[in-house]
């Protein structure tokens, strides 16, 4: 029987404190501890950074690469709300949550990375801004997006839970929901303009790197290629997350929705590769890509990943296989990540002989902040209705709750509020 995703349903009857979850939290906690030490000791002792490679993985990976992956709320939202891909509405909550967590984790680490964070308050005073700085655009636009439209877009699942578990607030929640609906199009508008601005500005950052960025990457098209890459990376990240959750939590998947996502991702990747090649040829650097050096190698690695992803995406839809589709989106995401990582680090040559490799603590903090985001997602998917499922799944969840109630279990599993009756177990 074909499954059709109809609504978001919490992952129920699964314990929260599983072993992988504990590991993620432990790494996260360790990272937070080391963060404190970094603030006191300075960037030098904590990282492998130096004056030639002044930007390390906290900026180039956690911010510039991972917010690309966190662009699902942006790109899938545009497809759903602007281009009326109605099927995609059901995955929007997953997209918005992955985006929010990716941005929050990246922005926090950005604040750890800057040397004089106490001066960030100038962000609130536009007359102190350097309007032409791409970095200002990023520094203002990113938090603005994460803390305004993206946060607001993530409020409905929370309201829904409050509605179901706290009858005394029901009226208030309904009022809030009405206001939300009224202003939703205006919020959504911001949620697409702001990321279009800062995701392209992330590319514009490297423009000022001038000749230090290798010619295969340094192009006036950097902003366009960056925001475009964010578009397909967002799709791949959300599709990958959905498929991973399907496999791990043994949920059913909707082949129609995923086929649609595969197709759009494939189109985005194909057109991106075309623009990349045309730009390369137009700038007269196609032959540079054929020279036998590490940079040409990196370039073709990117292209290979994306080319293979393109094929796998189109092919995997036919096989009705969640694993295959998951691999396809992983390959696509890695290709995009490589592209966004290369001009900042691997293809960035400040001067001959300069070298950077992240220190152990730097790596640990970087992984730790990602772990926190992943753990938060796993937790929230169990507490809130995020992941898509069928209406039938919802009824099954309710029946399981009723059964548990009848058996007289006192402590209900977190994440399984009684959505049907609205009665809280804690009453």
């Amino acid at each position: 029987m074909i499954t059709r995703w109809e609504r978001s349903v919490p992952v129920h009857d699964v314990p929260i404190w599983t072993r992988p979850f504990k590991v993620l939290v432990a790494i996260g906690a360790l990272a937070l501890g080391f963060t404190l030490w970094r603030e006191l000791a300075g960037l030098g002792p904590a990282t492998g950074l130096n004056d030639a490679y002044a930007w390390g993985i906290w900026k180039t990976f956690n911010v510039m690469v991972l917010t690309g992956l966190g662009s699902g709320g942006f790109s899938i939202g545009i497809a759903a709300w602007l281009f009326r891909r109605e099927k995609l509405h059901v995955v929007m909550r997953t997209a918005l949550l992955t985006s929010f967590l990716a941005y929050l984790s990246g922005l926090t680490l950005l604040a750890v990375d800057v040397g004089r964070p106490w001066n960030m308050y100038w962000l609130l005073m536009p007359w102190k801004w350097n309007f032409h700085s791409p970095l200002l655009e990023v520094a203002f636009c990113m938090p603005m997006y994460a803390l305004l439209p993206l946060l607001l877009e993530n409020v409905p699942p929370v309201l829904e839970r409050v509605h179901a578990t706290k009858p005394q607030y029901r009226e208030l929640v309904e009022k809030a929901e009405k206001i939300m609906v009224r202003f939703y199009p205006y919020v959504v508008g911001l949620a697409y303009v702001l990321p279009a601005m800062h995701q392209s500005s992330l590319g514009a950052l490297m423009l000022l790197g001038g000749h230090k960025v290798h010619a295969l990457w340094q192009t006036p098209m950097l902003p366009l290629l960056y925001v475009w890459a964010a578009a397909f990376m967002g799709f791949s990240c959300v599709a990958g997350t959905l498929l991973f959750c399907t496999l791990v939590w043994n949920r059913k998947f909707d082949i129609e929705v995923l086929t649609e996502m595969n197709r759009i991702t494939a189109w985005l990747i194909g057109s991106w590769m075309l623009v990349r090649m045309v730009d390369l040829i137009a700038r007269g650097h196609f032959l540079t890509s054929l020279s036998l050096d590490i940079f040409a190698g990196l370039f073709w690695t990117e292209m290979l990943f994306l080319g293979v992803a393109l094929f796998m995406l189109l092919d995997s839809s036919k096989h009705y296989d969640a694993k295959l589709m998951f691999y396809a989106h992983t390959v696509a995401a890695v290709g995009g990540m490589l592209y966004r990582f290369n001009p900042t680090t691997l293809a960035f040559q400040p001067r001959p002989g300069a070298f950077y490799f992240p220190s152990v603590i730097e790596l640990l903090i970087s992984i730790g902040y990602v772990s926190i985001a992943v753990a938060a997602f796993a937790y929230l998917a169990k507490v809130l209705a995020i992941l898509p499922a069928t209406n039938r799944d919802w009824f099954e969840m309710e029946r399981a709750q009723k059964d548990r109630e009848l058996q007289g279990s006192k402590a209900p599993a977190v994440g399984t509020p009684d959505y049907a009756t609205g009665n809280s177990f804690t009453d």
Partner: protein, 312 residues
């Protein structure tokens, strides 16, 4: 849901209007910035240094004078006093040696901030933590405006700004042309002590003329008979004459256009008056409002059918 003919026409009309409006706003923004695109010129009274490799004997008096004047901390990693391999957060001015072989031509070279006419570091700096003085053209750092993002280190083509990697209160370190001395009517420390006048201080126009005079007097002495900094990277206020190729002594060949005007052209246009983002926002909201209404109606019908609350 059937879309009525009238609704469809309205939609097409609004869509077209949005595209046209974006186009108009875009072209207004483009024309508005055209004037700002002109090459930036050095201020009339731009202070300047001229360094001549053929006159430098590598005595490092300038290095010592600089360290003394700027009260630089001692670099504990440096076993010899004041002998760093490269500029770092303990040294704003150093003398390096270029010696490709034991017997061939060699050269000393002085390294410090070039005080570009249109500096990339200033263009990228978020809150004007690095700023260029409108009168003297000196590029200085202000601690209260710097967030320590190190974008200046990424953007400087000469690798000049340095960051203090140790401690909780790091600063950006670079030559600031001995600004307090200039204000007191004195020359910068390095030029005032140079025994061979390899580095001299003056107004940019004067020093350019001086450099060209030296080239005219000795047509075969200097590399390409060129003054580095007259046009390179949009012009710099520290000028170089060299008997070895400039690239060999750390002065990269980056063309005559300044980095900001070369690379940020389109970025500036896109954000001029915020016209493009605002029109884009308005058009998106226009389209989404229609689609949202349609979606809400669909959700309501589903709610009635299944008895489950609609989800946004």
């Amino acid at each position: 849901m059937e879309i009525s003919r009238r609704a469809a026409l309205t939609k097409i009309a609004t869509g077209t209007a949005a595209v046209v409006a974006t186009g108009v706003a875009g072209s207004v923004a483009l024309s508005g910035v055209a004037s700002a695109d002109e090459m930036k010129q050095a201020p009339a009274n731009a202070v300047s240094m001229l360094y001549d490799t053929t006159r430098c004997v590598g005595c490092k008096s300038c290095v010592a004078a600089c360290a003394q004047e700027n009260k630089m901390e001692r670099d504990k990693r440096d076993p010899l006093y004041l002998a760093p391999v490269d500029l770092n957060s303990f040294s704003k001015n150093i003398i390096k040696l270029y010696k490709p072989s034991e017997t061939g031509v060699y050269s000393y070279v002085k390294a410090q901030c070039m005080h570009c006419v249109d500096p990339a570091c200033v263009a990228g700096c978020t809150f004007h933590g690095l700023s260029k003085d409108a009168k003297t053209g000196v590029v200085t750092w202000t601690s209260s405006l710097c967030i320590g993002c190190r974008y200046c280190e990424i953007s400087c083509p000469y690798g000049v700004p340095k960051f203090q990697w140790e401690g909780y209160n790091p600063k950006i370190v670079k030559c600031e042309f001995c600004k307090p001395r200039l204000e007191a009517g004195k020359d910068p420390a390095c030029t005032s002590v140079c025994p061979t006048h390899a580095v001299i201080f003056g107004k940019r126009d004067q020093l350019l003329a001086e450099a060209k005079k030296r080239i005219a007097e000795h047509p075969d002495k200097y590399f390409e008979n060129r003054v580095f900094g007259e046009q390179e990277g949009g012009g710099t206020q520290v000028l170089y004459l060299s008997h070895v190729p400039f690239e060999k002594i750390g002065l990269p060949n980056i063309g005559t256009e300044s980095i900001p005007s070369k690379y940020l052209k389109w970025q500036k246009r896109l954000y001029q008056y915020l016209a493009v983002p605002v029109v884009l926002y308005a058009s998106i909201v226009g389209v989404v409002r229609g689609n949202f209404k349609h979606h809400q109606e669909h959700m309501k019908r589903e709610e009635e059918k299944t008895g489950l609350r609609a989800q946004l």
